[in-house]
Amino acid sequence: MVLRIAQKEITEMIRDGRFRAAGAIIFTLLAGALLLGWQHYREVSAQHSAAQRATREQWLGQGKKNPHSAAHYGIYAFKPKVPLTMVDRGTDPYTGVAVWLEAHKQNEFKYRPAQDATAVQRFGELTGATVLQLLVPLLIVLLAFNAFSGERELGTLRQLLSFGVSQQDLERGKALGVAAALGLLLVPAALIGVVALTAGSGQTDMIAAIPRMVWMTLGYLLYFGAFVGVSLAVSAWASSSRSSLIILLGFWMFNGLIAPRAASDIAKAVRPAPSAFQFARGIEKAMQGDGHDSASERTKRLEQGLLKKYNVDKIEALPINFMGARLQDSEDHGNEVFDQAYSRLWAVFDAQDGVHRLLSAAAPSLAVRSASMAFAGADFPQHAHFAKAAEEYRRSIQRVMNDDLMRNASNTGVYLAGGELWNKVQPFEYTAPDAGWVLSRQAPSLTILALWCAAAAMAAMWTARRVRVYLT
């Protein structure tokens, strides 16, 4: 029976010109967005890997220099693009693309791509994620808003129930019908996506992308399920098709446009982040020693420690280069300061994301957005993951340079190193976290989506059982 109802629903939808038009528009936008995303991914990742090679060559080819000059010259780390960003670019346009790894300092990422775009960008970017999070739910609303109310208004609900069709079967059949209609649209689009993914990325990237893609798909399915459930529930509960449509459009609007913005502002108010000025100033002060334990005191302490350790009475007599030791000592101090400052800042961002998660109990778009960009590899925690890896690499360069100074430089003359030392620094290799890492962070979002879906299905069942049969 359920199948037969679903079949009837599908036939009706396919014959309805409005559904065909809306479906065609959404499909075109989705396919277009995926192809554009694919092209963008290819271009940017080619640029980044070329630049990563070039920066390595510059490092190796910098000629004879003091190791500390080389440390100042430094190297750039370019954030690699991962294949699934063709579906969801997430926060990538709003985080910098490259960071300069130099001596003494953990730099900020530079050049947010959104700064090189016009204000039109702020209306939202046309990506697969936009279509899936914003437009597909609207289509669901349009397909399902009059599922029950329409039958009642036509008088067919009475007829159906008189045949002995149970309300639950009717509800399930309707849900299945909407799902099948969506499938007609989304499965081909997903296939396009998979083909683009296969054509666009190397084998290792591809294999890493598969579990991510599976989880992302699950997130979207739960999200759509929630929308189908809510739409059917409202359709059964509302007094007329008109009020059902108004309520559902209101919910769509709240979910997709109002809640995300309101959530941003609430999160900022609840867990304010420092200004860039305060952040930089805090680091600067901590580096200077904040009044106690200043740089000169530390140098003195280091000097005395070394003199004692090697049992000599002046720096010139040390078997190691004092300059190298002092530089490494100040790096060690700086590392502590940076670790503290950045972990504090990122904890604030984390807490803000927590506020978003809390609010996603009211608007599932917040949860699906978070899950989608996380599994695409374009959310802030993964940006921070890369930033940490780049910082570790920077620190390893400093250690190699300073070790060399300590061991080989004299305490009196000029010391220059060459290609051999530059080669001791391994090339920068970054492996993005795997799907399990993302899942451990996104489990709450997926749980909330599952709860939404379950609650909406239950609400649909419950209201279907109590659906009013007659027009009042």
């Binding site: 409005r18 936008l29 277009g32 554009l36 640029q47 980044h48 630049a51 920066t55 510059q58 910098q62 750039y76 370019f78 926060t91 709003y94 693309v97 490259a98 900020e108 530079k110 050049y111 947010r112 791509p113 959104a114 700064q115 090189d116 775009a117 016009t118 204000a119 039109v120 702020r122 209306f123 939202g124 970017e125 046309l126 437009l135 609207l138 098709s241 008109r242 108004i246 459009l249 109002i258 995300p260 913005r261 309101a262 959530a263 941003s264 502002d265 999160a267 900022k268 108010a269 982040a273 200004s275 860039a276 000025f277 952040f279 100033r281 800042l345 604030v348 803000q352 994301d353 802030f380």
Partner: protein
């Protein structure tokens, strides 16, 4: 007659609880938006005053230190000597160039959360200090903010459509249309009365509540140009609203039922506010792709490496070009010091990178001019550009600021470079002669002029939607 019609229509409307509910929702949204905008202004002002305070403290310290160093009471290494022009101009004595929020800044956050609003200008190349991005969770940048402009661009049209999607169709459906038109009143007059009433209600809501928002937001109305900007803001808001009313009449005039009207208008809203902007954004980026910043980084690096290698040669050439800056040659000859070399190396690097930077500027200008032309595809984009301009959160004002910063950067270098080359130490009296940055607000006429163009664009959109609406009303099937 119109007044009678409006009176009856008002009775009808007020019998419903909907208008009150809408007024409350819109009111809360506007108040919340204005509050968020003003929080952002407060945040910026706090950061600015902290930065200026830091500069003040630094200068006080230097002012105290110089006499001590001069008298030999204190000894410092050449790198930490504030009298050395290269140390002072590069980091110790650098000053902030600040763009304070514009008078109506709280009304539209616009692009202002994406662009820096103060820089610490030094003698180094501009690329070293232009990356002063504000700390922000990127998710918030991605979403955009809940400010007054958001409410007006997205929610205000929906309120208008909710009031007018069944302007004529509901009267027809309840059978009162034929009855009313049997009186000596034309359909056009009836529609006019209904629209005027609703427009008065909605526009009053929007304008009054925005005014309340301005007050909540702590806008300084005494600031120069604030009133004229506010006036244009109100005019653009009214015209943007008028467009949605005209669209609603046009859809009503097609003679379909209320449900179809609602669907059609919701679709139009989606098209103008969501779909066209995002497609336009994609098209702009495809037609005028901005070169990659990754490649810019590489270009700067390659140019820098090359210049460093040629260092002393460059200095010689630089001094040939600027003989007036050459150090007195009678003095002890010797290898040029770090500071002098850096001047020449920076100059050469910047000259080499210039074409790459020019390409960025050119492509961005192309993008902007494409937006300026194609924004008329959607009144929402037109209104957004006007709102951002009037609130001073547009790319225009940022570019204006950057131009000022460039000029200041030139002055700053003009002050220090000759002293670096002449190896002339600064003294206490030089501190008072340092160039200072003052932000000159964009001329109000430029801003209101640009917004005025947007206003005219909206007016054209109203006419384009309105004329067919009025024509179609003439053929409206009153019965059946």
């Amino acid at each position: 007659m119109i007044r009678t019609l409006m009176r009856y229509d008002w009775r009808n409307l007020s019998a419903d609880r909907a208008p009150l509910a809408v007024a409350v929702v819109l009111g809360v949204a506007i108040a919340y938006g204005a509050f968020n905008g003003s929080e952002w202004i407060r945040f910026q002002n706090r950061a600015i005053s902290e930065a200026l305070a830091e500069e003040g403290e630094r200068f006080d310290r230097i002012r105290n230190e110089i006499p001590k160093i001069e008298s030999g009471e204190k000894t410092v290494s050449p790198f930490a000597d504030p009298r050395q022009p290269q140390s002072f101009g590069r980091n110790m004595g650098t000053r902030y160039a600040v763009m304070p929020p514009a008078p109506l800044g709280a009304l539209a956050i616009g692009q202002s959360d994406l662009y820096p609003y103060y820089f610490r200008v030094s003698t180094n190349s501009r690329e070293t200090f232009l990356n002063n991005d504000e700390v922000e969770n990127p998710v918030h940048l991605l979403t955009g903010r809940f400010d007054l402009a958001f409410v007006l661009l997205y929610l205000y049209p929906l309120v208008i459509l909710a009031f007018s999607y069944n302007l004529v169709s509901s009267e027809k459906e309840s059978g009162t249309l034929a009855l009313t038109l049997s009186q000596p009143v034309s359909l056009r007059r009836l529609v006019m009365a209904k629209v005027l009433l609703r427009a008065a209600f909605v526009a009053a809501l929007a304008v009054l509540l925005s005014a309340a928002g301005v007050i909540i937001g702590g806008t300084n109305l005494a600031a120069e140009g604030a009133w004229s900007r506010l006036l244009v803001w109100a005019a653009v808001t009214a015209m943007y609203g008028a467009f949605w009313f005209a669209l609603a009449i046009a859809v009503n005039a097609l003679g379909r039922g209320s449900a179809t009207n609602a669907m059609t208008l919701a679709g139009a809203w989606l098209l103008f506010v969501i779909v066209i902007p995002s497609v336009l954004n994609v098209a702009i980026k495809a037609l005028y792709p901005v070169p990659s910043r990754v490649e810019l980084i590489q270009a700067i690096r390659v140019a820098g490496d090359e210049s460093t290698r040629q260092g002393s040669k460059l200095l010689a050439r630089y001094l040939e070009d600027h003989p007036e800056l050459a150090p007195p040659s009678k003095g002890p000859g010797g290898p040029p010091d770090f500071g002098t070399l850096l001047v020449a190396v920076n100059e050469a690097t910047e000259r080499k990178v210039q074409p790459v930077l020019a390409e960025f500027d050119a492509q961005l200008a192309n993008q902007q001019s494409m937006v300026d032309r194609l924004r008329y595809l959607s009144p929402a984009i037109v209104a957004q550009s006007a709102f951002n301009d009037l609130a001073g959160s547009s790319a225009h004002r940022y570019k204006h600021f950057l131009a000022g910063v460039d000029e200041y950067h030139r002055q700053w270098r003009g002050f220090f470079v000759p002293r670096i080359l002449r190896k002339e130490k600064l003294n206490a009296s030089d501190l008072a002669r340092l160039p200072a940055f003052t932000f000159r607000e964009e001329p109000t006429a430029d801003v209101t002029g640009r917004a005025g163009v947007a206003f005219v664009g909206l007016l054209v959109a109203v006419v384009l939607a309105g004329i067919p609406a009025v024509m179609a009303l003439r053929r409206y099937p009153v019965a059946g």
